[in-house]
Amino acid sequence: MSIEIIEKDDRLYRFVLSTSIEMANAFRRIILIEVPVMAIDEVIMLRNDSPLYDEILTHRLAMIPIITDLKNYNFQQECSCGGAGCSLCSVTLTCDIKNDTGEIILVTSGDLISNDPKIVPVSPNIPIVKLEHGSSLTFEAFALLGRAKDHAKFQSVAAIGYKFYPKIKIDENKCKKCVQKCIASQYCPKNLFKVGTEVSSPKLIPDFWKYCDLCESCSRECPEGAINVEYDDNKFIFSIESDGVLPLDTIMKKGWEIFKEKIDDFKDQLEKLEIEII
């Protein structure tokens, strides 16, 4: 198993993972579902004069991505407080706004005051609700660690997926039968073929595998059937997009950690099992 990074951004990772498809999919699912992230889970609504109902407002609050600190916080059910809620397992975000400006104001995620200055919403500009003159909004929200298998608000990544690594073979002997300019290469929707005026076999650009969608339009349009599009069974191009709750390095490391834990757990369970051979 090896990782080769193609693109590295603070919000986007693209890399080639060389492993079997089962492992690749397990890795994808673990990152999507098991990596813990903080999100608002409980709201005490004290006053809400806004046009949105309490439930809708609470749902909007839960959707706000919150920067997570995995080192200093534990799951509430595993915490020493026994699930009651303490400073080791929950963060309190409060909001107390009364609009007496005479105009309509927009309440944003920047108006949430956290009791831990590190655990704040990813962006201060996320709109929550609009308030007219004279209305007020007062609530207390509790953010907890959770896993995305319980609720999608605990997702650590916005999008994660992989595609197959393309292998395109061009048969030059068949290409020689063509008299005119290559037609098939012009059909590529991503323009991955080098454009040449001479009558010769088409050439791919060096990093075509980064962009190829395996649409097979080149092999379908070739009158001689010279282009053969295949994919590698043991190489996958992953792309992970984070919404900023955790750095992508942490997400990947935590994902592998959980993966290893799960495999060890599975091994232990297998050893305990008494198998009857019929």
């Binding site: 909007r60 309509i104 990813v122 962006s123 996320i126 709109p127 919404d243």
Partner: protein, 67 residues
């Protein structure tokens, strides 16, 4: 009503991008394709969230609800 915080399909944060998008397209006249590129919105599920949204909350705020 008011712009959803996340994209319904993929979960990307789009709530904070609606205002800059309206600023760019309606007020400055930038084509929406360029605006999406500047805001780093690449998937069409996220684009439809912004393109198809109508801020009805502004209409509702005109009616008095408090007595």
């Amino acid at each position: 009503m008011i712009i959803p915080i996340r994209c319904f399909s993929c979960g990307k944060l789009i709530g904070d991008l609606y205002e800059p998008y309206i600023e760019m397209t309606v007020k400055k006249g930038i084509p929406s394709e360029d605006a999406f590129k500047k805001l780093n919105i690449t998937r069409f599920c996220c684009k439809r969230m912004i393109v198809s949204h109508i801020n009805l909350i502004d209409e509702i705020l005109n009616f008095p609800r408090l007595q």
